[in-house]
């Protein structure tokens, strides 16, 4: 059964997602980071729809279960393309947009094939298992892609603060969930702690993006390559 804590965190998270859209719109970053904002808008819509289904059918209902996982699948794909759009921003000067799109499609297809290969032996609820599997796999693909992108930022000496902050917040977000999952499995006797902790992590990305859009102007510059300087 859900307690007030879960509802409050969920509400805060949804509000923060809406705040990201407002901040991006106010600071004229809506179109520039369109796919990021599309992801946030989709998150808000899905949150409202999930709440509607939860109140109509109940927490333990099949309707909520199926809607949760299918909507999560769509959101993960949206997040994947949002991440791909950050690649396009970083490599904009090299005019390799076509190759980035090809790479994204190949990666998405590869993940789908791999996920199908994993779940094909499951004879019941094949599609649902596939949807859950591909969501999880895309999640790890996103994690690796973010680190690759960060390496590219350092290598290309990217200086746009807003872009750097967006990428870093995504890296922290993915890493937080992966670490949380690993720790959750390591300390299964402390499941209650993680039950409270996990929903809070969901608020990190909208909070970081809202802060970035509101406080970091497009013209701001930093030098992240200094972080990678090794003393000789």
């Amino acid at each position: 059964m859900l307690g007030p804590y879960q509802y409050i965190v969920w509400l805060i998270c949804t509000l923060l997602e809406a705040v990201v859209l407002v901040c991006a719109f106010k600071k004229n970053a809506f179109r520039r980071y369109l796919l990021l904002n599309v992801y946030m808008a989709a998150s808000v819509v899905m949150s409202i729809a999930r709440y509607d289904i939860l109140t109509h059918y109940g927490y333990a209902s099949k309707e909520y279960l199926y809607f949760y996982f299918y909507s999560d699948f769509l959101l993960t794909i949206a997040l994947f393309f949002a991440l791909t759009s950050l690649y396009s921003h970083i490599f904009a000067e090299m005019e390799v947009g076509r190759y980035i799109r090809t790479g994204a499609v190949v990666l998405l297809s590869g993940t789908a094939v791999f996920s199908y290969a994993v779940v094909q032996q499951s004879n019941s609820r094949l599609l649902t298992h596939f949807v859950v599997e591909i969501s999880q796999n895309l999640y790890f693909v996103g994690l690796v892609l973010t680190y690759v992108l960060w390496a590219a930022v350092l290598k290309l000496r990217e200086t746009r603060s807003r872009l750097i902050q967006l990428i870093l917040s995504m890296g922290v977000y993915f890493s937080m969930f992966a670490a949380n999952y690993a720790l959750m499995n390591l300390y299964q006797n402390r499941a209650a702690v993680f039950e409270y902790l996990t929903p809070l992590f969901g608020c990190f990305l909208p909070l970081a993006w809202a802060y970035t859009f509101w406080h970091v102007p497009e013209e701001a510059r930093t030098v992240p390559s200094r972080l990678a300087v090794v003393p000789r």
Binding site: I12, T14, R50, T102, Q136, F140, V141, Y173, Y181, G202
Partner: protein
């Protein structure tokens, strides 16, 4: 052509890296899922320990009613 092949190769390398990372992270998992889009509460998962059907438990067969023997 070679550029396209390089892109495909890089995509496959990322996929291999991601799946290896996933294997490392979920090795000792209990079948729970890692999903992180929004703050909505994760529904209780009926297939938490994999999707395979539960096999018949052999040590329960002793309690089952015995079939009538035709000779008796």
């Amino acid at each position: 052509m070679s550029r396209k092949l390089t892109v495909v190769l890089l995509a496959m390398l990322v996929l291999v890296g991601a799946m290896s990372l996933k294997t490392v992270v979920v090795t000792h998992g209990d079948g729970s899922v890692i999903l992180a889009n929004g703050g909505a509460p994760l529904p209780p998962i009926p297939w938490k320990n994999g999707g395979a059907p539960l096999p018949p438990i052999p040590w329960n067969s002793s309690k089952a009613p015995q079939q009538p023997t035709p000779g008796k």
